[in-house]
């Protein structure tokens, strides 16, 4: 089993996998610390998955529980599918971090605390009446108490930093210690610090000194034997060149790749919103890749500019999160009516309304599939991991240009921020899907369709001889002239529907991720539940249960074999981070009695939660 079953062996210390969580104030640099430990761990050839968990406030008041920022990494010598159920090592940089994270630490787990931050003031801000280091709160855990603040300040003394700047290096001290604890080579962290602070060498040197001091502390300090270094052997990973990849990076590169494979410039438009902004930030510098980015005045302007871009012959892509997608809806309907390519990326977050901006959820599936006025069908594609996001984004671009349709691309806050090692594909291996703009005036009709795809021709304004007008008013099914004719509206509605449904013929059959076709139970998921479902099913199968895992990428339309496949199982379970959206669609489409397994607390499923749900049906 993953997560909870890991044992920190006190004598051998050889672990199959381990979960480490860095937690501190949002100003403590925990995300950077976690990212750097991830890099060092990836270099050590462990497989891994990460889970950054940070507050919505940029700088919540220091020392408060709502200002705690955490970064969790699960790594091991075997395939890692999730960021881990239970934490083995918790680094708590202050009392508030300890308070909010202790519950996730497994019994017997190791707590590393910075005693320098356990001041009376910080204890009271965190709501501790007495110091948890002394009052028995930590009974049953192992604890390593170090005055990191003081030791950091001492280590960086030679560089002449002020006290505040000196203390800011303590996250690197902690990283140094954890690097030592797991036998990580910290060269990569050192190189990164030197690069990041290239223009401020004294800051770079101070941080490196703190990193080294933390590492040296582990090596030399008189620590009891239970704190000796742990060994997590390298995983059996397929050969190749790897990098660490976040979901946002996967989507960004997939969109660039998709535009390139279509032979089009990319016009990416957005409006700042958590957690979708990362895409805009990642794409903005890529100007040599034919990418133009536009930060619009609002979500509506962003989608409209993207549609304008597609109209003029670029690949228009817009991105947001649920509330922003809601604002874009009317314009998406126009793209449906005018049959223009458009990719809409939704980095889902907790809702409704503003909801939980920095927490993950999968509750925009209805919005993606049904969420427009009138009969406004479009394609919906969902990615399930950072690496998968790259390929799924390419697929979204392919469908958009081939079928002249908006495509809703679903990712979520968890995928966007999570990182995994990624075997880098060779771009030359991807199948191009070049767009052929119509330039021949002979016989041109605005809404005449390709007999196979039912897509209309894409004509760029500026093309001589093909002048025409399009718009949101219903159009004649061939000429594109305004038409209020009753039969014509029926025909156009049917055309729009059939075009999207026809995509089913152009996508792969639904595969079974683990297990077999037919059998007792299939767990059907979509999006970021891939990891926990995959591990839970694998654990249950290892225990001899007849259970399979199916994960859906093409949410709409679904692969043509989906109905038969689902009906080949006695029971279908659908775990989702919502109150039951895919399950409703599956029930509606295939008349099957699929059962929901739901969770909406802003956090990904734990493996054990899915196992427990499965046990009831096995």
């Amino acid at each position: 089993m993953e997560g909870g079953s890991v044992i920190l062996d006190e004598s051998g210390n050889e672990l199959e996998s381990a979960v480490v969580r860095f937690a501190g104030d949002s100003g403590d640099g925990m995300q950077l610390t976690g990212t750097q430990f991830t890099q060092a761990t990836a270099m050590a050839r462990n497989d891994l998955a990460t889970f950054p968990d940070f507050p919505a406030e940029i700088r919540a008041p220091a020392g408060t529980t709502f200002g705690v920022s955490a970064f969790q990494i699960h790594f091991g010598s075997r395939t890692i599918r999730t960021s881990g159920d239970a934490v083995d090592v918790l680094v708590a940089m202050n009392p508030a971090a300890l308070k909010t994270n202790l519950a996730d630490l497994r019994k017997g787990g190791l707590i590393i605390v910075d005693t320098g931050a356990f001041t009376a003031r910080n204890l009271s801000k965190a709501g501790f009446a007495a110091s948890p280091l002394e009052d028995g709160t930590l009974e049953g855990y192992r604890k390593l108490e170090v005055d990191m603040t003081r030791m950091t300040v001492e280590a960086v003394k030679p560089f002449g930093l002020g006290n505040k700047d000196a203390q800011r290096c303590k996250n690197m001290w902690a990283l140094g210690l954890v690097d030592w604890l797991f036998g990580r080579d910290r060269t990569i962290n050192e190189d990164w610090l030197k690069q990041k602070f290239a223009s401020k060498p004294e800051i770079a040197d101070a941080n490196v000194a703190a990193l080294n001091a933390g590492h040296a502390f582990g090596e030399t300090a008189d620590m009891s034997r239970e704190f000796r270094a742990f060994v997590v052997p390298p995983a059996d990973i397929a050969p190749g060149t790897y990098r660490a990849l976040t979901g946002a990076e996967g989507v960004a590169m997939g969109l660039v790749a998709g535009a390139r494979l279509a032979g089009l410039p990319l016009l990416f438009t957005g409006y700042p919103i958590t957690p979708a902004s990362a895409l805009l930030h990642l794409l903005a510098p890529l100007k040599d890749y034919g990418v133009t980015t536009f930060q619009a005045e609002d979500e509506i302007a962003a989608v409209c500019a993207a549609i304008g871009g597609s109209y003029a012959g670029a690949l228009g892509v817009t991105s947001s999160s649920g509330p922003g997608i809601a604002l874009k809806t009317e314009a998406v309907g126009l793209a449906v009516a005018t049959e223009l390519p458009l990719v809409i990326v939704n980095s889902q977050r907790g809702g409704p309304s503003t909801g939980l901006p920095t927490k993950t959820e999968q509750s925009d599936l209805y919005q993606a599939v049904y969420g427009r006025n009138a009969d406004s069908p479009l394609a919906v594609v969902a990615c399930h991991s950072p690496g998968d996001a790259y390929f799924a984004a390419i697929e979204a671009c392919r469908l958009a240009v081939k079928y002249m349709t908006p495509v809703m691309f679903l990712t979520d806050g968890y995928i966007a921020n999570a990182a995994e090692p990624w075997p880098i594909p060779d771009f030359e291996d991807h199948e191009p899907f070049p767009v052929a703009f119509r330039t021949d005036p002979e016989g041109y009709q605005v809404y005449a369709r390709d007999p196979e795809t039912l897509a209309r021709d894409w004509v760029k304004p500026g093309t001589p001889g093909l002048l025409h007008r399009i718009g949101g008013i219903e159009k004649h099914h061939l000429t594109g002239d305004i038409s209020y004719d009753a039969d014509n509206h029926q025909k156009m509605t049917d055309n729009r529907r059939n075009k999207i449904l026809g995509i089913a013929r152009d996508i792969p059959d639904q595969a079974v991720d683990q297990g077999r076709e037919g059998g007792k139970v299939a767990v059907v998921g979509w999006g970021s539940t891939h990891g926990p479902i995959g591990r839970a099913v694998s654990n249950m199968r290892a225990r001899g249960h007849d259970v399979s895992h199916i994960h859906i990428r093409h949410i709409w339309p679904m692969p043509p074999n989906m109905g038969d496949l689902l009906k080949s199982y006695e029971t279908i379970l659908v775990p989702e981070m919502n109150t039951g959206q895919l399950v409703t669609i599956l029930r509606a489409e295939f008349l099957i009695d699929a059962k929901p397994v739901n969770k909406v607390n802003g956090k990904p499923f734990r493996i054990v939660e899915i196992e427990e749900a499965l046990e009831a049906w096995l």
Binding site: P239, R243, P265, D288, A296, E330, P423
Partner: protein
């Protein structure tokens, strides 16, 4: 299909075969005619021209222009136009909309297209009413306007389109009148020649829901006294015999109407229109009857070095030229720390 060269086109070549569906007598017909004449005068290439509109009576405009046309959604035409220009800056893009479209539901997009200075010609047809939804008062309606939604008279203060545009740093601001066929085509040609966002308010009579609301300055008998045609480099004179003019009151720093010869007023006292002068442009935009004439013509024109999309594209090019990766996809995929896993 025959492909004509732009030089040979007459106004009717810019008209489509679609039946025009505005109410008989609507001011939009006159504007359509003026636009088609302007297109012929400037030799616009229909294939390279795009008319973009939102929703409303005015927004049907693209269907009647033999060019490319995109009839979009309510208020958002400037945003579509921005995307079009970013994707293809060589296109000649016109945005057409009414006062509700551009100043109410789409006020935000008008604001940003203007301040960004996207190279579009924005024609705002102002009839001070919602026509297509059957006559509700609009954001430009004068207080007290009786309409189905304000049966006892509207209460809110209207927006002045040109002052709004100048307030968000418009670099070309002009006003025309549907009935002034002698004046409007030339004004549109000026708007088209301006690089950057040219914002043109066109006073337009809604014959069904707001008929005659502008007649105090558009009727034949009053127009000489109530319209001031601003021309760059010429004194701001008006009246049947050009006997009236605008002078700056040194005490109030406001414009005042004076009559040549009265109290020794001479032509030298009259302000000479300088369309690059923002203060004059702003003062002219605000003039209102009955105390003042309505100023028409190019009130302000001061082009920026580059329009928005030109600036974006030149920055894109400059950064791309310096990039070491030169658009290499595999270089992008390998960006950052990588490591090898041996077989």
């Amino acid at each position: 299909m025959n492909i004509q060269t732009p030089a040979s086109l007459s106004p009717k070549d810019y008209a489509t075969d679609q039946e025009v569906r505005w109410c008989p007598g609507c001011g939009d017909y006159a504007i359509l005619k003026a636009v088609q004449k302007a297109m012929a005068d400037i030799g616009a290439d229909p294939a390279n021209t795009v008319f973009v509109s939102g929703i409303g009576c005015a927004a049907r405009f693209p269907y009647y222009m033999e060019t490319y046309g995109f009839h979009t959604i309510h208020g958002r035409a400037p945003s579509f136009a921005t995307g079009i220009k970013l994707a293809n800056p060589d296109l000649d893009v016109w945005v057409v909309g009414g006062d509700g479209d551009g100043l109410s539901i789409g006020g935000n997009h008008t604001l940003h297209a203007v301040r960004r200075n996207v190279d579009i010609s924005y024609l705002l047809f102002n009839n001070e009413i919602y026509g297509l939804t059957k006559g509700q008062y609009s954001p430009t309606s004068r207080p007290g306007t009786r309409s189905p939604s304000t049966p006892h008279g509207s209460l809110d203060s209207p927006v002045d389109a040109l002052s709004f545009a100048l307030g968000v740093n418009a670099r070309f601001v002009a006003r025309g009148i549907d009935r002034r066929q002698d004046h409007l085509p030339g004004l549109l040609a000026r708007a088209h020649a301006h690089k950057g966002c040219s914002f043109v308010e066109i006073i337009q009579n809604c014959i069904v829901y707001n008929d005659g609301v502008f007649e105090h300055f558009t009727e034949k008998e009053v127009k000489a006294d109530m319209q001031l045609e601003a021309e760059h480099g010429k004194p701001l004179l008006f009246g049947k015999d050009r006997e009236k003019g605008l002078r700056m009151n040194r005490h109030t720093l406001e414009l005042e109407v004076v009559t040549l010869g009265d109290d020794g007023v001479r032509e030298e006292d009259i302000i000479v229109h300088d369309e690059t002068n923002r203060t004059i442009g702003g003062a002219l935009a605000r003039l209102k009857p009955p105390d003042f004439p309505v100023a028409i013509g190019v009130l302000y024109c001061s082009p920026a070095e580059q329009s928005y999309e030109q600036a974006v594209l030149s920055q894109n090019r400059a950064i791309a030229d310096k990039a070491r990766t030169k658009g290499d996809m595999n270089a992008l995929l390998h960006r950052g720390a990588t490591w090898e896993v041996a077989a």
